[in-house]
Symmetry: C2
Subunit: 403 residues, 2 copies
């Protein structure tokens, strides 16, 4: 089996890499900036398999409420996504706006509105200009193409500085098949889904249960393991569409692995484009008794503003790491404080809970990636979580966003 | 009963407001800046009652480990506190440093080292210059005075810009008695104790059990209800010393109320001096089914960097409030998203989960205090938590602290 992955530095075809999909990205006029703001992804089959995972936030956008119903039967024909407004906390009228959007797409494509997933991203609490959006659906339908993946990826950007796409091609025993995807998200990245909007497509022949299992496994290992600023969105949606157009039927494990590979590429791209970040920080917790414990410890570090500000200042401040590790309760993660080892970019600055190599040996200035390795010495489980530093640019961007 | 409280704008005598206490603050030479860095508080009795609460962090400083043992029998004769180094993660030698400090104080004062509480604050992971500290103990002992409270408050400052002291005098049925206190802390303010170091004194006649109960009740309502940056310290210590010098024996409830009053004043001063903050934000959650639920909701809001950055930008971004409220699980706090009301500085910007009054009506620019009122409409419990905004100055201070 040969797997070829796009270099993420180039823009991969994304959702139109697999056979059986068309996509488009157009300017409906929802954004004051005049940038593209409406994307459409259509599954031309022969299968119309769909699965999705959503934010675990209890305050959710109307598109999430709608789309949960859409994917319940495992059938999805299209996904329509807009930037320029999240349609969250907009009252009953906001839900009608989502409903009308799905109806309009259904009409334009000749499919049931109940098989159209809707995703919206942008500011919370303001109605969308619905007539503008509905006119945009006509534009997007006319622009659909089998090479439209990159345009769709551009149209879902908000504060993102680059579009995010990825794909893999598998030349396997059962034939050649592909997985592609796109994502947006540059803030409010936190667990229980870390991206705001993501569409993954495949031309493999899979049923709804296999698609659902693969997507859940993939998000658990990827989007749920990035935590840029600890803030969970109301709108996070990851959709997987399968067209079956390749005719190839992979084994479920191999399929899940490839969905995970594409999701991992997209998740990494999200971290790399997080609002105002200067460093991408991989926190690896080893020697944990359980996976959940390792994740809780990694999460505690990733949520420490003091640690994140220190990394921004190129300061391998392991004291702040240990202080945040110590906040994890004993029943969640077993460890003895006097056994903890911490390495930053390969330099063990803390050994057995105390100072070891001089922190001046740690180079944080010459590259964007930072690798923190924490050994709990309590077991054999390992987890890596990605986060970002806390910078002036983050504060600027998030204090000026809506005003 | 008459209660007179110092105006917090003036410097109250703090720990020397009650009878039976001497204190001092001197420059031992622990700080490169040459500022005062060693404080001593001595209880001259006739009682030597002591109680304390400490950080719940599992990674703790040696002074915390030591002082837990000291207060176990309810007897404390003195508290020695240094800034210029936290003595955390410094290995077995670090514990010996704390031990030697207590021995030196015991020798200087003629009391048992086992009745001397030690508190240290500053950077984690570096040994204290112990000989310098021990010489400082002689200086501090010589400087002890019944008016030394303010000097002691100055000597425990790290990144604090002002010393924090408070006191109340109670002219009650059982005689006149006083409670005084001092605190330091301008970062790493989070629950499970929000301050780094605090000493509260009283000349009331109370036993160890009463003192302990009063202190726990007070911290639960005050220091545990401020959360500046979500980062829990390794060194948080709040000590209560009772001298009995007034001869007045208050009822336990009245006593706890006055300890709470002093703790509340100190906690409010900590928030007002939090690192780099431009706004002090009171988050009041009403209509909660339980106190714990209300607190969890308030805490979720106070931990949202997006919300805190918005307040810095004078933006009453209620969408970010609702997004953070939605992260609290149902079993922790009951509420329906479509019933939530949010007011900011008296303007109801969100009603029934949707936009209400225009956000432009909210004035955030003309004063430092911000009042956020969230009604869950799920019960009758109310909790107020204080936090700060996320500012450029916070990032600057915490990215440049140790380098």
């Amino acid at each position: 089996m040969t797997i070829t992955a796009q270099d993420t530095a180039q823009l991969s075809p994304g959702v139109t890499a697999p056979l059986g999909f068309r996509a488009s990205g157009v300017t409906a006029g929802l954004k004051a900036s005049g940038r593209p703001d409406l994307a459409l992804v259509v599954n031309d089959g022969p299968l119309s398999v769909g699965a999705a995972v959503f934010t675990t936030n209890r305050v959710v956008g109307h598109p999430v409420t709608w789309s949960r119903q859409v994917v319940a039967d495992g059938v999805v024909n299209a996904v329509v996504l807009n930037s320029g407004g999240a349609n969250v906390c907009t009252g009953p009228e906001g839900f009608l706006d989502t409903h009308r959007t799905a109806e309009k797409v259904g009409e334009a494509l000749g499919v049931s509105p109940g098989d159209v997933v809707v995703g919206s991203t942008g500011l919370i609490g303001e109605r969308l200009p619905i007539e503008t959006l509905l006119s945009g659906v006509d534009l997007a339908t006319n622009a659909l193409s089998t090479t439209g993946g990159p345009a769709a990826a551009v149209a879902i950007m908000t504060t993102d500085t680059v579009p995010k796409t990825a794909d893999v091609t598998v030349d396997g025993d059962f034939g050649t098949w592909r997985v592609g995807g796109m994502a947006k998200g540059a803030g409010m990245l936190a667990p229980g889904l870390a991206t705001m909007l993501c569409v993954i497509t495949t031309d493999a022949v899979v049923d709804a249960a296999t698609a659902d299992a693969a997507l859940r496994a993939a998000t658990r290992q990827t989007f749920d393991r990035i935590d840029s600023d600890g803030c969970m969105s109301t709108s996070d949606t990851v959709v997987l569409l399968a067209s079956g157009a390749s005719g190839a039927t992979p084994d479920p494990e191999g399929f899940a692995a490839m969905v995970t590979a594409v999701a991992a590429q997209l998740a990494r791209q999200l971290v790399a484009d997080a609002e105002g970040a200067m460093h991408d920080i991989a926190i690896t917790v080893t020697g944990a008794q359980t996976q959940d414990g390792a994740l809780a410890v990694a999460r505690a570090i990733s949520r420490s503003n003091l640690f994140k500000a220190a990394i921004y200042g190129n300061d391998p401040n392991w004291g702040r790491i240990l202080a945040s590790v110590g906040t994890v309760p004993e029943h969640v993660a077993a460890f003895e404080p006097e056994l903890l080892d911490v390495s930053v970019n390969g330099v063990m600055v803390c050994r057995a809970g105390g100072a070891h190599e001089p922190r001046s040996l740690v180079d944080l200035a010459s590259q964007r990636e930072v690798h923190v390795l924490l050994d709990l010495h309590a077991g054999t489980e390992v987890v890596t979580l990605w986060t970002n530093d806390l910078t002036h640019a983050y504060v600027t961007e998030n204090s000026e966003y809506s005003t």
